[in-house]
């Protein structure tokens, strides 16, 4: 009797631990980031780097951005290990060179800017990686009236 109670308690604690572990794992692997790619001269690094004519960014087999000099592209990603292929065309008319790049993204940043020329020329992380700070538009910051009374919405069911 006592034994079975004890065993049940152990099972329960184990189950709870498993659930908490899964939750923790989800926090790690499920963290979403938005990565922005800049193909332009990095600011505040002191050194001049070469900005290629065109860079194509391929993430998970899909081309997400074709960036000419001075352009920005973006991709959504999950987790902190970020792998991409870069097809770099140095000058117009040249054949692109293929590069495989793997990065570790900082957990705390929602939006991350990667300066590709700085990355390509081998500068350190603080030079090519910076946080994208989201600035809500004026439209978004306008006061929004909350509608909690749903009698008028009885009909709008999209089952």
């Amino acid at each position: 009797m006592d034994k079975s109670k004890k065993r049940r308690l152990i099972y329960r604690i184990a189950a709870l631990a498993v659930v908490l572990l899964i939750a923790a794992a989800m926090f790690v692997i499920g963290r979403g980031h938005t990565v922005y790619f800049d193909n332009k001269m990095p600011e505040n690094v002191g050194t001049e780097v070469n900005v290629p004519y065109k860079i194509e960014v391929v993430v998970a087999g899909k081309s997400v951005a074709k960036l000419k000099s001075g352009e920005r592209g973006m991709a959504d990603t999950m987790g902190q290990n970020f792998n991409m292929q870069l097809l770099v065309t140095k000058e117009k008319g040249e054949d692109p060179t293929r590069l495989q790049v793997g990065l570790t993204l900082p957990y705390s940043m929602d939006g991350i800017i990667i300066n590709l020329p700085a990355l390509l020329s081998g500068l350190d992380e603080s030079a090519y990686l910076s946080e994208f700070v989201y600035v809500p538009s004026a439209e978004e910051m306008k006061d929004e009236e909350v509608i909690t009374d749903d009698t008028d919405n009885q009909m709008n069911f999209e089952g």
Binding site: V19, I22, A23, A25, M26, F27, I29, G30, R31, G32, H33, D76, M78, D110, Y134, P136, E140, M141, K142, D143, E144, V146, I147, T148, D150, N153, Q154, M155, F157, E158, G159
Partner: protein, 369 residues
């Protein structure tokens, strides 16, 4: 004898038959292509089945239609709001939202079960009012506590005034991730395989649960509370467990529902969900005291065919799009009304039958003695 059984069948399935007729009339008039219709219905099975399955357990325990399944829906929404603020995306986000929602659902289910134990015999109206009451609490939490008490970081979710959640929260990062996890396309019909697998698993769990000791107890309680109490079943506890299970499943179901929709209407997504799920279940031929997994799927197919087809058909017939919209809402309410009336009249009939049998037995006893 045989004649009577056919009549009985007709009566039992009167609602599904009526719906088949409505659908058969309206579908050609609406002018929608069969391909579109099938696609829509398959999507809606994936979207709603889990939610509707959550209604089965309280029916088993004799607690009637669980109008307070909205409690679970609210818990699911809270889970999703938090997860999208934490920026956990995709399937992991869904799983985490479920894990967050489960303790909330369980607590709400416990509350609901305790209250319903104090209101035996009028569970349905009480669970209906509970859904309103908890909606008030939900609004208190989401509209006032989220921000200052429960940290919400992102301005896309939080209202500009600094507390409270916006009217809609986008779930773009999770939208149809489960549905598209295992892509399958048969003759132009997109099939959400992974969602169907999850639904199938819940069906298995329900079938298994019926055979467990607890499931058997629940059915006994549903049959007769007094008898089961005499047989040593803890009636109150069994009823509370059935409510907790139903609420937890409803919470998970709501997360599946919302990942398909792709956004949360923070203050209204949950409010109608109970009504429409119950109507769909009843359309499938279930009654207040008897419902099977088959009823769930038949119900979704018939109810949602009507839901898609009726407004279009109404527009074609009357030239006014609103007529069809009102018509389908009227039909949903009417179906629930009819089912409730049939349940109550049957209950009375059985009671008087039992009473007559008792009187007869007593008479015989007297004659014998």
């Amino acid at each position: 004898m045989k004649n009577k059984s056919i009549g009985d069948y007709l009566r039992r399935f009167s609602v599904p038959i009526m719906f088949v007729i409505i659908c058969l009339i309206c579908a050609p008039i609406s002018g929608l292509s069969p391909n579109y219709l099938i696609n829509e219905i398959v999507t809606r099975i994936g979207r709603n089945a889990f939610l509707i399955l959550s209604l089965l357990i309280p029916i088993m325990a004799g607690m009637g239609l669980n109008f307070s399944m909205t409690l679970g829906a609210m818990a699911g929404e809270i889970g999703l709001i938090l997860v999208s603020d934490w920026q956990i995306v995709g399937i992991p986000g869904m799983i985490l939202a479920m894990i967050v929602s489960i303790p909330i659902s369980a607590l709400l289910g416990l509350f609901c079960g305790k209250v319903l134990n104090m209101a035996k015999g009028r569970e349905m109206i009480t669970s209906y009012i509970i859904s309103f009451f908890i909606n008030g609490i939900y609004q208190l939490v989401v509209l006032y506590l989220m921000g200052p008490v429960i940290p919400i970081a992102h301005s896309t979710i939080k209202l500009p005034r600094g507390y409270g959640i916006r009217n809609t929260v986008s779930l773009l990062s999770m939208r149809q991730r489960l549905d598209n996890l295992i892509p399958l396309n048969i003759m132009g019909v997109k099939i959400p395989v992974a969602t169907f697998i999850v639904i199938f698993l819940l069906c298995l769990v329900i079938i298994w649960f019926r055979k467990t000791k607890l499931g058997q107890d629940m059915r006994a309680v549903g049959q007769d509370m007094e008898v089961s109490k005499d047989a040593g079943i803890d009636v109150e506890r069994t009823r509370i467990i059935s409510m907790i299970l139903s609420t937890v499943f409803a919470g998970i179901g709501m997360i599946i529902y919302l990942q398909n929709m792709g956004n949360i209407a923070t203050y209204s997504s949950h409010s109608q969900i109970g009504m429409f799920c119950i109507a769909a279940l009843l359309v499938g031929g279930a009654s207040v005291d008897k419902a099977s997994i088959g009823n769930v799927f038949l119900g979704i197919i018939l109810f949602h065919t009507m839901f898609i087809v009726a407004p279009k058909a109404g527009t074609v017939i009357t030239g006014d799009s609103m007529i069809g919209e009102y018509f389908r809402v009227f039909v949903s309410y009417a179906v629930i009304t009819i089912a409730l009336i049939m349940y109550e009249t049957n209950k009375r009939k059985n009671k008087s039958k039992a009473g007559m049998q008792l009187a007869l037995a007593q008479e015989q006893e007297e004659a014998n003695g």
